[in-house]
């Protein structure tokens, strides 16, 4: 009747081990709530995973060890070097990739289940339903994550790619087709062609949903896909009657949902709006007219002047963004900070929740560069401090500092909480050019009389300032 139970040796022993395993997952995740307990938390969760795998292996009737060893060795051979060698700046795409293979595993398992049971014949309908749900969501997650990886790795352009106004219709049709195929199979159709059709529609849907999403919306997309894979794993767990899968999958589903919500709130956008596609043409047009009004009032500065400004400040706030990640400037930034601190300048970092390409992206980079944890300020703590800040140093951040989000109701980003750097006494912006950010919106901040622009690559610009400081 239920696939899983038919070949397990001792169900209650297995269950106990599974309970231990998910207990460890929960305990491990609790550890992740603070920087000092987090390492241990992650290891506790890993031990839980080890126990769950061991329990599964212990309780099998048949051999096929060769296949298992082959799969595990292949996976380890790919996963370990990837995890060891990935640069911290490339972390978002690594997470997207790991998430994608998880989704891939989910839909492949559903497919093999379908084939093994000859189209869910002699299987309870609910098992078929959960397995089919896992197949659809797993496939969407697999393809969506791969596209996200491609965009982050810049194999695919980060710009939104879409069918324009037809996009929503296309997505909806694909979703309906996939669900219809699922309903057909659950109702008793054993045809594998229909199942493959379901997988193809979900695959196209995964592509169609993520392709139109712009690079800066990636934090939301990655956490959403993470939630998807978790939910599909939980569905697989119900189909296989495996409690460890249900609990672990659902916890991930819940956490992914929370994160997705937090990210969307931090951008003042709804999840459906983000999934429905990036900022449309309207935003770009608006940006263009904005540029006309302001043109010609940008003040540019040199590394030497910026160094003087920073050296004589008593309080400096650094606002990092994706530009810092792209230029891998985190170590250079840390050097600059040390140099300033040696001159009794108080330095802290203000971090917007969606700065970078995944939640907490900036924090990881700065931690890599040994920036003390307590110097990293979250948006709500950082904002009141800007008024008593002498210099805000914006490094490769754009939209998250744009005052239009507060002042211009017609702006596409109006209402998005921002870091209020315009409140500080002066602002230095390090930026490669005057090109607007991904949203195509001009940043009023750059035209503010107290703002000076330092054009250049974040890493070399910061290093130049540090070098100039030595001469002061």
């Amino acid at each position: 009747m239920i696939l899983a139970t038919s070949f397990l040796q001792d169900q209650s022993f297995l269950d106990v081990l599974y309970i231990v395993a998910f207990g460890l997952f929960i305990q491990g995740l609790r550890g992740l709530s603070g920087p000092t307990t987090a390492v241990r938390g992650n290891r506790i969760a890993a031990v839980g995973m080890g126990i769950a795998v061991l329990a599964t292996l212990l309780n099998r009737f048949e051999g096929n060890w060769g296949l298992i060893v082959l799969g595990v060795v292949l996976g380890t051979a790919v996963g370990v070097p990837a995890a060891r060698q990935v640069k911290m700046t490339a972390m978002p795409q690594m997470v997207a990739l790991f998430n994608g293979v998880g989704g891939g595993a989910v839909f492949l398992i559903s497919w093999s289940e379908f084939r093994l049971t000859h189209g869910y014949s002699n299987t309870a309908t609910y098992i078929a339903i959960f397995s089919l749900f896992a197949a659809i969501v797993g496939s969407v997650s697999f393809w969506g994550s791969n596209i996200a990886f491609g965009k982050l790795q810049e194999i695919i352009p980060g710009r939104p790619i879409s069918f324009g106004s037809a996009q929503q219709v296309v997505n909806l049709v694909l979703l309906i087709l996939a669900v219809a195929a699922g309903v057909d199979i659950a109702a008793g159709d054993h045809s594998q062609a229909i199942f493959i059709g379901l997988l193809v529609c979900s695959a196209l849907l995964g592509n169609a949903v993520v392709l139109p999403i712009g690079g800066a919306d990636m934090p939301v997309v990655i956490s959403l896909l993470n939630a998807f894979t978790g939910l599909s794993a939980a569905a697989t767990g119900i189909a296989l009657d495996n409690t460890a899968l249900i609990v672990a999958g659902m916890i991930v589903g819940a956490s992914g949902t929370i994160l997705t919500n937090l990210m969307a709130t931090a951008m003042n956008r709804s999840i459906p709006a983000i999934v429905a596609g990036g900022f449309g043409g309207g935003g770009a047009v608006e940006g263009a007219s904005g540029a006309g009004e302001h043109a010609g009032t940008v003040r540019s500065t040199s590394a030497a002047d910026a160094a003087i400004q920073l050296a004589y400040a008593s309080r400096v706030v650094i606002v990092p963004g994706y530009g810092m990640a792209v230029a891998q400037a985190q170590h250079a930034v840390r050097e600059l900070t040390k140099e300033l601190e040696a001159r009794q300048v108080e330095v802290s970092y203000a971090i917007h929740p969606v700065a970078g390409r995944m939640p907490g992206h900036m924090n990881v980079l700065l931690a890599e560069a040994d920036v003390p944890y307590d110097q990293l300020k979250e948006m709500d703590d950082a904002n009141p401090e800007f008024q008593r800040t002498d210099v805000s140093l914006v490094i490769g951040a754009n939209d998250v500092t744009n005052p239009a989000a507060k002042n211009t109701p017609s702006s596409p980003i109006y209402g998005m909480p921002i870091l209020e750097v315009a409140d500080s006494r002066s602002v230095i912006v390090i930026k490669r050019s005057m090109n607007p950010g991904f949203a195509g919106i001009e940043n009023e901040l750059y035209f503010d009389p107290k703002t000076a622009m330092l054009f250049g690559d974040a890493k070399s610009a910061v290093s130049e300032i540090t070098a100039e400081l030595a001469h002061i």
């Binding site: 009747m1 696939l3 070949f7 995740l29 920087p35 390492v39 992650n42 290891r43 969760a45 995973m49 795998v53 599964t56 099998r60 048949e62 096929n64 296949l67 799969g71 996976g75 380890t76 790919v78 996963g79 370990v80 060891r84 990935v86 911290m88 972390m91 690594m94 998880g102 891939g104 595993a105 497919w111 093999s112 093994l116 609910y126 993470n226 495996n242 899968l245 249900i246 672990a248 659902m250 916890i251 589903g253 819940a254 956490s255 992914g256 929370i258 994160l259 601190e341 009794q344 929740p353 995944m358 939640p359 992206h361 924090n363 931690a367 040994d370 944890y373 307590d374 990293l376 979250e378």
Partner: protein, 117 residues
């Protein structure tokens, strides 16, 4: 009868796990969101178990064996890679506060001039 009770039990577990997930994760600070994501990411690699279970069932044809090996490999990448990369990230977060003073995690020990209001 038995089927129904298995389903309801599992649904109960599903719902409770969802609530636990919400409660546990709500406490994680912004700073740790990336490790949290990659950690939970590793945990959903538990689908690996599904592959292990089905590959042991009798009646798998050659094609099924191939896709199951791929599924197991994918699951392993997800689990092993996910936990390792999370560990690497978290080590970086840990090193600094530890190096200063564990009793004062906010330790502005002298370096910042002590004038922090």
């Amino acid at each position: 009868m038995i089927l129904a009770s298995t389903l309801t039990t599992n649904l109960a577990i599903l719902v409770l796990a969802g609530f636990i997930g919400f409660v546990v994760i709500s406490k994680v600070p912004n700073t740790l969101h990336t490790p949290l994501m990659s950690g939970t990411n590793a945990i959903h690699g538990i689908v690996l178990l599904g592959g292990l279970l089905i590959v042991g069932a009798s009646g798998n044809g050659v094609f099924n064996k191939i896709i199951l090996v791929i599924a197991i490999a994918f699951g392993t990448i997800n689990v092993v890679g996910g936990f390792l990369v999370t560990d690497r990230m978290l080590e970086m977060f840990k090193s600094k506060p530890k190096a200063q003073d564990e009793n004062q995690p906010t330790g502005g020990s002298g370096k910042e001039g002590g004038g922090t209001p």
